[in-house]
C-alpha cells in the first residue's frame, strides 16, 4: 500500500469458496435467499405461536378424546431421513465447491430421493390418520394445528424438491463449476432451513408432552 493510495486487491475469485467472498461480502442472490428464509421463518413463527397459544389456553392437552400422535412407527424414521437428506445436500455442495460435478449430481439425486421418501411417508401418515383413526383437520383444534403445521412444512419440502430438481437438471447440463454455483448454495440453504423447521415441529408435536 503506497502513500499514493495503493489499491487493495479484493480477494481473488479463485480463492473464494461458497457464497462468501465474491469481491467481498455475500453474493446478491444468496443474500436474497437468506432474506427470503428470514420471512419464511416468521411465517412458521406465526404458526408455532398459534400452537403454543392454543396449547397454553387449553385445560388439557391434547384435548379430551384425542390421543397424542405417536412418533413411531412413521415420524421418527421420517425425521432421520430428512436429516440425512440435509447431510447429502451439504455433501453435494462441498463436492461442487471442490469442482466435482459428478459428486454434485450424485449428492443432489440422493437428496431428491430422500426428500421424496419423506413426503411419501408424510402422505401415508395422513392417509392412515384420516381413514383408520378418523382424525382430520376438522377434528378439533388439535387436528387443525397438526395438519396445518405439518402440511405447510410438507408444502415447503415439495418446494425444496422442485428447487433441487431444477439445479439437478442444470447440473446435468454442466452449468455449475467450482466457482459458479450460487444456485446450489441458495437451494441448499433453503433445504437446511426446511430441515430445521421439521426438527422444531417434530419436537413440538411429537416429543413435547
Amino acid at each position: 500500500m503506497s502513500a499514493a493510495g495503493g489499491v487493495i486487491v479484493p480477494q481473488r475469485e479463485e480463492e473464494a469458496h461458497g457464497p462468501i467472498g465474491h469481491g467481498g461480502g455475500v453474493d446478491t442472490a444468496f443474500l436474497g435467499m437468506l432474506l427470503f428464509i428470514g420471512s419464511e421463518l416468521m411465517f412458521f413463527a406465526g404458526l408455532f405461536a398459534a400452537y403454543f397459544n392454543t396449547r397454553a389456553a387449553a385445560p388439557v392437552w391434547p384435548p379430551a378424546n384425542i390421543d397424542y400422535i405417536e412418533p413411531f412407527p412413521l415420524a421418527t424414521p421420517a425425521t432421520i431421513i430428512l436429516v440425512l437428506s440435509s447431510v447429502t445436500m451439504q455433501w453435494a455442495v462441498w463436492r461442487i465447491r471442490a469442482g466435482d460435478r459428478t459428486g454434485l449430481k450424485r449428492g443432489l439425486a440422493v437428496t431428491l430421493l430422500l426428500g421424496a421418501v419423506f413426503l411419501g411417508i408424510q402422505l401415508y401418515d395422513y392417509y392412515e390418520l384420516v381413514t383408520v383413526e378418523r382424525f382430520g383437520i376438522d377434528s378439533g383444534v388439535y387436528g387443525t394445528l397438526f395438519y396445518t403445521l405439518t402440511g405447510f412444512h410438507g408444502a415447503h419440502v415439495f418446494g425444496g424438491l422442485v428447487g433441487i430438481s431444477v439445479i439437478l437438471l442444470r447440473a446435468s447440463q454442466g452449468q455449475f463449476s467450482g466457482r459458479h454455483h450460487i444456485a446450489v448454495e441458495a437451494v441448499s440453504a433453503y433445504w437446511h432451513f426446511v430441515d430445521v423447521v421439521w426438527i422444531a415441529l417434530f419436537v413440538t408435536i411429537y416429543l413435547l408432552k
Binding site: G25, T28, F36, F44, A45, A49, T148
Partner: protein
C-alpha cells in the same frame, strides 16, 4: 463483401409497441410508475367508498346506502387505502427513487421486481371482486369470530387477495434490502445514504418480518372458514383472541410501514427547501431504527380491553416510541430553523405533514394511557387518530413526494398555483373532516355504525366531518386537473429544478434506462451539493478522505476520482468489481473483512475529515 449479402437479422423487434414494453418491463423506473399509477387508481376507488360512508353519516337516519352495503364500504375503504394505496404508493416511489439515490442502475432482482408489481393488480382485483360475492363486511381488522363465521364468499376473496399482496410486499422488501446492501455506488457508505433510503431499509425489514405473520393468520382464517378448522372457534378448542395477537403482531409494524417512508420523504424535502443539511443525521437514523425495533414490542396495545394482555408492559413500550418520534420532530424543526425557507408545494406539504402528524401522534400517546384507552376503545377517537396519521401523515407525505419528484419522473413541474390550491383544500378538509371526530369519540360515538340517534347531539359534528370529506375530494379533483394539464404541457423542468442534494437529481429527467452517464463521487450524504459547490468550500465536507481513515479499497483510490470528473467505470485494473460489495463487510461481520476497517470507523473518519479539509490534489 459477404456481409452485405446476408439479410440483416434483427435480434429484437425494432419497434415494439409501447403497451407491450410497459407490460413486460423490468426497469425499476417503469415499474415504479406502474406501482404509483395503480396505487393512485385504488386511492380514487377507496376515496369514493369513503365519500359514500360520510354521506350516509351526514345526518341521522338511513337515507343513502343500506346497512349491509355500509359495512362492506367501510371495511373495503380501509383495506383499499392501506394495502392498495399507501403501501404500493410508497413501494412505487421507493422503486423509482431508491436505486437512483444509491447510484445503482436498477434493483437487485429486476424480474422479481416486476413479479412483485403484477401481484398488486391481481390481488387488488381479487379484493374488489369481493363486492360481487357478498362483500367482505368484517372490517379491515377481520376479527374472529365474525370473520370466521361470516358466510359471504367475498371474505375468502379478500383473504386470497391479501395473501397475494403480502407476498408481493415480502418479495419487494427482499429486493430493496439486496439493492441497498449490495448495489450502492462507490463511496456511498451506510451513513451517507439519503434518509429516504434509510427509511426504505427499515421499512423493508419490518415488511420482511411482519407480513409473513399476517400471511400465516390469513391462512388460519381461510382453513377455519373452508376446511372446518378450529383455530378461532372455542367450540373446537380454539381461541378468537389468537387472531388479534397474530393480526396485531403484523398490524403494529404495519403502522410504521405506512408512516416511515413518509418520514423519509419529508426528511428529503426539508433540507432542500431550507437550504441546510438535515439536522442530526445520525440521530435520525437511530430514531428510525429504534421505531422499527419498538414496533415489534407493542402489538397488544390494540388489545387492552380484551383483558388477555399484560397492560403495563405494552403501555410502557408504546410511550417509549414517543421518544424516537420526538427526536425526529425536533430534527425537522432544527433543520428548518434559520434556513432560507422556500414554500414551494412540496415544502408546503412537508410542513403540513409536520404540523398535522403531530396531532395524530399525540392522539396515539393518549391511547397508550390504559384507562383512557378503555374509555375510547372502538369510538371515533380511534377513527380520528388513524386518519390524522394516515391522511395528514402518509397522504400529505405522498403528495409532498409526488410534487417533489414529479419533474424527475416526467420532466415537467406540476403547476404551483394549482398545487397550492390543492394543498389548502386538503389541509382545511383534513382538519374539518377529522378533528370533529375527536369530539364525537369523547362523546361516545362508536365507530362502524351506519346510523345514530338524532337526539344524541352528534348531528352537527358529523355534518361538519362530511363537509370536510368533500373538501378533500375537491382537492383531489384539483390534483387530477393539475396532472392533466402538466402531462399535456412542455417537459422543460430540467435535471435539478429544486437545487437538491441527492443523486437522483444528478441525472437527466427522466433518467436513461441505465440511470447515470456519469456517477458523481460520493463523499457525504449530499453528493450533488458537493458537486455543485466544489471540493473545498466553506462547508468542508466534500473531499476525498485521507488514506486509511475510511474503509475499503474504494476509498484508497479516491484521488483518481477528482470531484466533477467521471468515474471511469466501476472496476479497477484487475477487473474486479470495487464498490458496494466491499462495504457489505460492515453489515456482515463474518464476511471477508476488507482492509480490516468496519463501519464504526467511518463516522469517526468523517468527523476527523471535517477537522482537516484537504484538497484532493494533495493525495495524488
Amino acid at each position: 463483401m459477404a456481409t452485405t449479402a446476408i439479410p440483416r437479422r434483427v435480434a429484437y423487434p425494432t419497434a415494439r409497441s409501447r403497451v407491450y414494453e410497459w407490460l413486460t418491463t423490468t426497469d425499476h423506473k417503469k415499474i415504479g410508475i406502474l406501482y404509483m399509477t395503480t396505487a393512485f387508481t385504488f386511492f380514487l376507488l377507496g376515496g369514493v367508498m369513503a365519500l359514500l360512508v360520510r354521506t350516509e353519516l351526514a345526518v341521522p337516519g338511513l337515507q343513502f346506502v343500506p346497512q349491509e352495503l355500509y359495512n362492506q364500504l367501510f371495511s373495503m375503504h380501509a383495506v383499499t387505502m392501506i394495502f392498495l394505496f399507501v403501501m404500493p404508493m410508497f413501494v412505487g416511489m421507493g422503486n423509482y427513487i431508491v436505486p437512483i439515490q444509491v447510484g445503482a442502475a436498477d434493483m437487485a432482482f429486476p424480474r422479481i421486481n416486476a413479479l412483485s408489481y403484477w401481484m398488486i393488480p391481481l390481488g387488488g382485483a381479487s379484493i374488489m371482486a369481493a363486492f360481487a360475492f357478498g362483500g367482505s363486511p368484517i372490517g379491515w381488522t377481520m376479527y374472529a369470530p365474525l370473520s370466521a363465521t361470516e358466510p359471504a364468499r367475498g371474505v375468502d376473496l379478500l383473504l386470497m387477495g391479501l395473501v397475494l399482496l403480502g407476498t408481493s410486499s415480502i418479495l419487494g422488501a427482499i429486493n430493496f434490502l439486496a439493492t441497498i446492501f449490495k448495489l450502492r455506488a462507490p463511496g456511498m457508505t451506510l451513513m451517507r445514504m439519503p434518509m429516504f433510503v434509510w427509511v426504505t431499509l427499515v421499512t423493508s425489514v419490518l415488511l420482511l418480518f411482519a407480513l409473513p405473520v399476517l400471511t400465516s393468520g390469513l391462512i388460519m382464517l381461510f382453513i377455519d372458514r373452508n376446511y372446518g378448522g378450529g383455530f378461532f372457534d372455542p367450540a373446537l378448542g380454539g381461541n378468537p383472541i389468537l387472531w388479534q395477537h397474530v393480526f396485531w403482531f403484523f398490524g403494529h409494524p404495519e403502522v410504521y410501514i405506512l408512516i416511515l417512508p413518509a418520514f423519509g420523504i419529508v426528511s428529503e424535502i426539508l433540507p432542500v427547501f431550507s437550504r441546510k443539511p438535515l439536522f442530526g443525521y445520525r440521530a435520525f437514523v437511530l430514531a428510525t431504527a429504534s421505531i422499527g425495533a419498538l414496533g415489534f414490542t407493542v402489538w397488544a396495545h390494540h388489545m387492552f380491553t380484551t383483558g388477555a394482555v399484560y397492560l403495563p408492559f405494552f403501555s410502557f413500550f408504546t410511550f417509549l416510541i414517543a421518544v424516537p418520534t420526538g427526536i425526529k420532530f425536533f430534527n425537522w424543526l432544527a433543520t428548518m430553523w434559520g434556513g432560507q425557507l422556500r414554500f414551494d408545494t412540496p415544502m408546503l406539504y412537508a410542513v403540513g405533514f409536520i404540523s398535522l402528524f403531530l396531532i395524530g401522534g399525540l392522539d396515539g400517546a393518549f391511547l397508550a394511557v390504559v384507562p383512557f384507552d378503555f374509555m375510547v376503545q372502538d369510538t371515533y377517537w380511534v377513527v380520528s387518530h388513524i386518519h390524522y396519521v394516515l391522511v395528514a401523515g402518509s397522504v400529505f407525505a405522498i403528495f409532498a413526494g409526488i410534487f417533489y419528484w414529479f419533474p424527475k419522473f416526467f420532466g415537467a413541474l406540476l403547476n404551483e398555483r394549482l398545487g397550492k390550491l390543492q394543498f389548502w383544500l386538503l389541509f382545511i378538509g383534513t382538519n374539518v373532516a377529522f378533528f370533529p371526530q375527536h369530539l364525537l369519540g369523547l362523546d361516545g360515538m362508536i365507530r362502524r355504525i351506519a346510523d345514530y340517534a338524532p337526539n344524541a347531539g352528534w348531528t352537527e359534528l358529523n355534518f361538519l366531518s362530511t363537509i370536510g370529506a368533500f373538501l378533500i375530494a375537491a382537492s383531489i379533483v384539483v390534483f387530477l386537473w393539475n396532472l392533466f394539464i402538466t402531462m399535456r404541457g412542455p417537459r422543460e423542468a430540467g435535471d435539478d429544478p429544486w437545487d437538491a442534494n441527492t443523486l437522483e437529481w444528478a441525472t437527466t429527467s427522466p433518467p436513461p434506462p441505465y440511470n447515470f452517464e456519469v456517477l458523481p463521487p460520493v463523499r457525504s450524504e449530499r453528493p450533488l451539493f458537493d458537486l455543485k459547490h466544489g471540493a473545498v468550500t466553506a462547508h468542508g465536507v466534500a473531499r476525498p478522505a485521507a488514506r486509511g481513515e475510511t474503509h475499503g479499497e474504494m476509498r484508497e483510490d479516491a484521488p483518481e476520482e477528482r470531484l466533477g470528473e467521471p468515474v471511469e467505470g466501476h472496476e479497477d485494473q484487475q477487473g474486479e468489481p470495487r464498490g458496494p460489495a466491499a462495504e457489505v463487510s460492515a453489515e456482515a461481520p463474518d464476511a471477508t473483512p476488507v482492509a480490516g476497517r468496519g463501519e464504526p470507523d467511518v463516522a469517526q473518519a468523517q468527523t476527523e475529515d471535517r477537522a482537516k479539509p484537504t484538497k484532493p490534489e494533495e493525495h495524488s
